[in-house]
């Protein structure tokens, strides 16, 4: 996520966790899944890491603090690695970051308004519905594009429809982003930054919108969108790490355990982008986004029950939460499994080719 941070006014009391080997290992595992998704997709770590840490007994605000603090360093190293591969357009990142922070501020103001009017359950419902609406649209849009590519369409070709019309507006000034090799309107880049920030501030997963928006609205190659998103995450991570540390919510031990897994994951994920086609990255992203969207859709009746709109027993509410968690954690595991499976396949192909080449050399000799 490339969004900024709002510290809740009434935060939970600080309760540092007793660090056992089991907790440490679990944190390394959570870090690995989050890192792998971030390295491969440019985003996608936060939505699974925070709830996973909370399920270990870490208070919510400390889970968010540990996640965002670890994201700061991970984004620095991840974007450095993507930079080595020519995947980071810093100029685009700098242009987008200004609009992104403005988007976050607007979203936070709206969130506060919803919270005041509808209360906590209403606010949760608003977030979930926004999640479902936006992510359904992104999922369908990306799915249609993947089908088009699978049928032989070009990877960079027009996706058609509204996105292409917006992309072709060309309102001056036009900027050339060298690394992405894209000429686009400054206003469009700012709009993408603002939309990413707004959704990051509203639903907490700006990268899910930022990466597809860069691909379809600005015409940025998938690899560069992933790398540039990580570059953007440096700034939001720095802001978050600073604020949460200042308020005393950062348990550095949690962050350090997360690093062991996540830095390994982020590098493996970044290498993974080199051995797959662009549409395969889109495929993983679509699968993950669709499952996260389902997890939010399933939980809507629970919030309606809490608001008193529908009658729901505690047992039914617990079942709904469990099903929602299955989709949420399943999305991370599914995404990671697909990435590792493709990398394993690429390794096997490389070994076979090497053996074949060595065989043909020895036959010639």
């Amino acid at each position: 996520m490339a969004g900024a941070v709002e510290i809740p006014a009434a935060a939970e009391a600080i309760k540092f966790l007793a660090m056992t080997p089991k907790t440490g290992l679990s944190l390394v595992g959570i870090g690995f899944v989050g890192g792998l998704l971030s390295g491969f997709l440019g985003s996608g770590g936060a939505f699974i890491m925070t709830p996973a840490m909370m399920s270990l007994g870490i208070p919510g605000i400390m889970a968010v603090a540990a996640n965002i603090t670890h994201k700061f360093g991970k984004a620095i190293m991840g974007s450095k690695k993507h930079g080595e591969f020519g995947n980071v357009d810093r100029k685009m990142g700098v242009v987008m970051i200004i609009a992104l922070f403005a988007g976050v501020q607007v979203a936070v103001m709206m969130q506060k308004g919803v919270l005041q009017k509808l209360g906590p359950a209403g606010s949760n419902l608003y977030i979930s519905l926004l999640f479902v609406a936006i992510l359904t649209w992104v999922t369908l849009f990306m799915y249609r594009d993947i089908r088009r590519i699978q049928k032989g369409g070009s990877e960079t070709g027009g996706s058609g429809g509204m996105a292409e019309k917006i992309r072709n507006l060309n309102i001056p000034p036009i900027i050339h982003f060298k690394v992405a090799n894209v000429r686009t309107s400054l206003w469009l880049a700012l709009l993408v930054g603002f939309a990413t920030g707004f959704l990051a501030g509203s639903i907490g997963v700006g990268g899910f919108i930022g990466v597809p928006a860069m691909i379809y609205l600005l015409g940025v190659p998938t690899y560069v969108a992933a790398g540039t998103e990580l570059f953007l995450a440096i700034f939001s991570g720095a802001q978050g790490a600073f604020l949460y540390s200042l308020y005393g919510y950062v348990d550095l031990r949690i962050t350090l355990f997360l690093y062991v897994g996540s830095l390994l994951g982020v590098y493996i994920g970044a290498v993974g982008t080199r051995v797959v086609r662009g549409y395969q990255i889109k495929l993983v992203m679509t699968s993950v986004i669709a499952m996260v969207m389902l997890s939010r859709l399933v939980i809507v009746p629970k919030y309606l029950g809490e608001m008193g709109t529908i009658a729901l027993s505690k047992g039914a509410s617990d079942i709904i939460s469990a099903v929602s968690n299955v989709f949420l954690f399943g999305s991370g595991l599914l995404g990671s499994s697909i990435i590792l499976f493709w990398m394993f396949q690429a390794l096997r192909r490389a070994k076979t080719e090497k053996a074949y080449q060595e065989g043909s050399v020895s036959v010639k000799a």
Binding site: G73, K80, S245, V250, L252, Y259
Partner: protein, 110 residues
Amino acid sequence: MKISEKEKKDSAGSLDLEPSQHKTIKKEYESVTTGIIKGLFYISLTAVVYFLIFSNAEKVLALLTTKNYAAPAFSMITVVLVAYLLGTGINKLIKVTLERALESQKLREE
């Protein structure tokens, strides 16, 4: 600093390369052993930082809850240091193992 013709020739080897290009290529294609040693060196430095933090966990947690600028300064410096050391170590190891093994499988159609 001016580079003599002889030095330039030596560093560039038999190829017609500038010394800076030669240095980049050398860095990019360091041997597996060198890569692993460098990677393990950075990881052992990370282990030292981890040892210092975890063996002084109580003092560290007390510092982090002071709610003044010392807390963000300490946590952000530690995070950047660990990310750099551990990240560089893992990067060096992956570069000479996984990345090299997958060199022939590189795809970039965009």
